[in-house]
């Protein structure tokens, strides 16, 4: 539903292209954008903070005399744009040539899905400040009502929403736009431990549609329960053990595995997955499809940041690496066909069991519920990351542990995956299920 305002933004992107070409750019792309953000924090019985703003601007890629520059501005007045684009082209001319910079092959713009991805809630505008306050208070009050809530020292609940609009044009024939909404509610809870520590935990829900948040008060209840379960946590023993990673936490580890699949990492010799295409790199239990067409998905799109039509593809098939993420620039450097350089949504081949059943199966070990700090070396695959969670004894969640650390190398670690849960995490684009590993290295006392 294009309004006059939309057409103005599209016209601005088109104007940028013609200004760039007349100022000496051989090719150009322009993306005009507008983002509206609203947020509200509610703490311990009162609104803590409200914030609301709309920002907009245009971001350009300029291809000038075999050279490349990018620029962005929010001053959209015609005379201002003209000066800015002229300055940016002069900047491009001052640097060294790069024969690999080019817009995508226009053939790759074709074949966008005709499906409605359902990324915009038509009721977005109806979720006003009053509703934000109501929902944040309800989440807060639900958390304060759980059993044992008297140990809670502080609780903050939050609501935020945004509306993102993009209009993209390139000088070699692409024109497209998209609109998407998202809603996010969360609760952060601190409680006081007998030894003076104040363990904290949180929970959240997010959705493209306001109605998709479900009963948001459950977020408050879960955040409070999660925090209270953490009272009295201790450091566990250093050992190699069975580890279950909660579906909410596991996305961080998956990102560490996927990042080195990019053509940029390969070309720059910073990928431990270089040369591994077609080889089994992880457990045969891992089959993941990258699907940009999931209705209401957080990673869903019809075209990527370059305008390339987004298509589903298999990333891992029974543990075998089936593809890399290739953008136009690094694809040209590597002589690889561009296929869109960014992950979208992951669809996992799920297991049959719930987290509870998986805990029961491992008998003894560690359930990791969140990560703290740490990092991963994409070039070598070595990683080391702080963990908190619970010991698992006799197949059930036992005492809380903290201040421990998980280390390994991705090429060994993911082969130790022995089970995948039936519970993909709905509030992220990685949609990670609970993952079970055996005999992995955890440091503690």
């Amino acid at each position: 539903m294009a309004t006059n305002h939309d057409q103005n933004m599209l016209a601005i992107a088109q104007t940028c292209i013609s200004l760039a070409k007349s100022a000496g750019a051989k090719e150009a792309s322009a993306r005009a954008y507008r983002v509206r953000d609203v947020s509200l924090d509610y703490r311990d019985g009162a609104v803590e903070k409200i914030s609301e703003a709309t920002t907009r601007g245009v971001a350009l890629q300029l291809f000038v005399d075999g050279r490349y520059s990018t620029a962005s501005t929010s001053d959209l007045r015609p005379e201002a744009l003209k000066t800015f684009i002229g300055d940016s082209i002069a900047l491009a001319k001052s640097i060294q040539p790069d024969p690999f910079r080019a817009l995508p092959d226009p053939a790759l713009y074709k074949g966008q899905t005709a499906a409605d991805l359902q990324l915009e809630d038509p009721k977005y505008a109806a979720v006003n400040a009053e509703e934000a306050r109501r929902i944040a208070k309800a989440i807060h009050d639900a958390g304060r009502a759980v059993k044992g809530a008297e140990a809670i020292t502080s609780m903050t609940s939050s609501f935020s929403s945004n509306l993102v609009e993009n209009w993209m044009v390139t000088s070699n024939g692409f024109s497209g736009s998209n609109r998407s909404t998202s809603f996010f509610v969360s609760a952060n809870v601190s409680a006081k431990d007998a030894d003076g520590r104040r363990p904290e935990d949180s929970d959240y829900a997010s959705s493209r549609f306001y109605g998709g948040l479900g009963d948001a008060t459950a977020v408050g209840t879960r955040a409070a329960e999660r925090t209270l379960r953490r009272l009295g946590s201790k450091k566990g023993e250093t050992s190699a053990m069975n580890v279950v990673i909660d579906n909410r936490a596991a996305g961080r580890l998956v990102n560490m595995l996927v990042g080195p699949m990019s053509a940029a990492a390969l070309q720059q010799k910073r990928s431990f997955l270089d040369g591994k295409l077609g080889q089994q790199i992880v457990s045969p239990l891992m089959t993941i499809t990258d699907d940009p067409h999931v209705p209401k998905g957080f990673g869903s799109r019809k075209f990527d940041m370059e305008g390339i039509a987004a298509k589903p593809r298999v990333i891992l098939d029974a543990g075998t690496l089936k593809t890399y993420y290739v953008d136009t620039y690094y694809g040209r450097k590597l002589k690889m066909e561009p296929n869109g350089g960014q992950p979208s949504n992951f669809i996992w081949k799920l297991g049959a069991k719930s987290q509870k059943e998986l805990l029961s199966d491992i008998k003894n070990g560690l359930l990791i519920t969140s990560f703290l700090g740490g990092n991963s070396n994409g070039g070598t695959g070595d990683f080391s990351i702080g963990v908190t969670g619970f010991l698992v004894r006799n197949g059930a969640i036992a005492e809380p542990v903290a201040e421990m650390n998980l280390s390994g190398n991705h090429l060994e670690f993911w082969k130790k995956l022995v089970a995948v849960g039936n519970d993909p995490f709905a509030y992220s684009s990685q949609r990670t299920p609970t993952l079970v590993f055996e005999n992995v290295s955890v440091a503690g006392v």
């Binding site: 971001a59 490349y68 001053d75 363990p199 280390s407 005999n439 440091a443 503690g444």
Partner: protein, 517 residues
Amino acid sequence: MEESSGLTRRTVLGAGAAALASVAMSDLFSTSSLLAETGPVPGVGYFARFGVTDKLIRDTIGAALSKGGDYADVFFQHRVTNNLNLEDGAVNRASANVGLGVGVRVLKGDQTGYGFTEDLTAEGLRRAALTAAAIADGPAKAAPVRFRVMEQKPNRYPVKIRWDDIRPQQKLSMLNGLNEKTFKTDSRVKKVSLGFMDQGSVILIADSTGRIVEDAQPMTTMYLSVVAEQDGRRENNSINRAARSDFSYYTADRLDRMAKEVVDKTVVLFDAVQPPAGEMPVVMAAGAAGILLHEAIGHGMEADFNRKNASIFSDKIGKAVAKPFVSIVDEGTQEAARGAINVDDEGNPVGRTMLVENGTLTSYLHDSISAKHYGVKPTGNGRRQGYEYAPMPRMRSTYMLPGPHKRDEIVASVKKGVFCELFSNGQVNIGAGDFTFYVKNGYLIEDGKLTKPIKDVNIIGNGPKVLELIDMVADDLKIDEGGWTCGKDGQFVPVSQGLPTVRVSSITVGGRAEKKG
């Protein structure tokens, strides 16, 4: 809260990137404008070029207080950021981003209303002010009649050569020279990439008490990254430098040292091992190891967490938390340091704050809200990423004062442990006090000597416990020149950190464990 060294990469989309294209980047640090400010000058200096007047500010603050807020302020910012990237032997990517906007904040007790706009017209400002005003619900209050300029603002980042006077060719020569130098250092080097940034940000803060102040804040960073190969194996590493300074910061000597350091720290990894896992003594090398303080105590002392009763340090002021030879400061006064500021983002003066003095917890880091809550003076820690964000208590440059021990004595004292030298990032849980930092380079210590190099290991501890376990502090304090960026609630601000050589008698090293039994 998480920290990382190196460039903060943010996509333009959703980041509120803004620009006023017709404004040239010249004048940002011109001696004819802001930095020449001496004696009483009209409140609006630099921002007059954007049509900002005393009256516009008064009207905006008036609208902000129209619903009965206790206090209101405006934060104008014009920032120009230039990046050059070198990859595969050529400076082949340039980018320019210009941001211009204003944030309006209203306080009612501890409550905050915030709005911002990139539309600097009377109507644009009024809309943002009314958005922020809605935090309150009562009769209007009056805006100040006139503004008084902050007197005796320090000059902690004097700029001799404006970035705008540096021709692109000079920057290209420097980057190409550093690239060649890095390759020449060792034949095993196969890839070098460089990221260079210069930025000028000018801010204006005015508030409902009638204060007004402008400040011009330069920043430059250089990121240098290397991949080396040996016998079919690859290792990579990176280092960076940052300063609120001008082109003269990049002396031949500094660039030479960068090339040598990044290559040394990469090729040593071919011999590196994974340290054992578990609790052991850890020696933190002088310099970047200040990340220990940033995570173990710095964030927990930010007064917003304490005001909310959510920090592990919430009831510890005046109590002994460390050995008597441990003193920890947070200050913004060191000339040209990345964490230096002449004034904070609420317009408060910036000095030195003692977090720990001779082992006793002394002061939190305050913004205006928490200072009012605790009935103390603000400490100049109210900072924000930009006009898109409300300020909150943040660190500036955090370090430990020199102690009574010697570096060699400290290393010699450890029978079996690790020595940590180069770091990439860290994070802390404020309430539980658990924190981590990630070690890129270090050594095993065996029988009092540095032996095998180690790599890629996370270290995890608990803030108050680790403070108690700091049992040796050397006399060799070094403030790191790395491009540290501190993240909190989605806002990123530049910080500095430093440390003398320090021993922690026991902390968990996240190495590789073997199955017991």
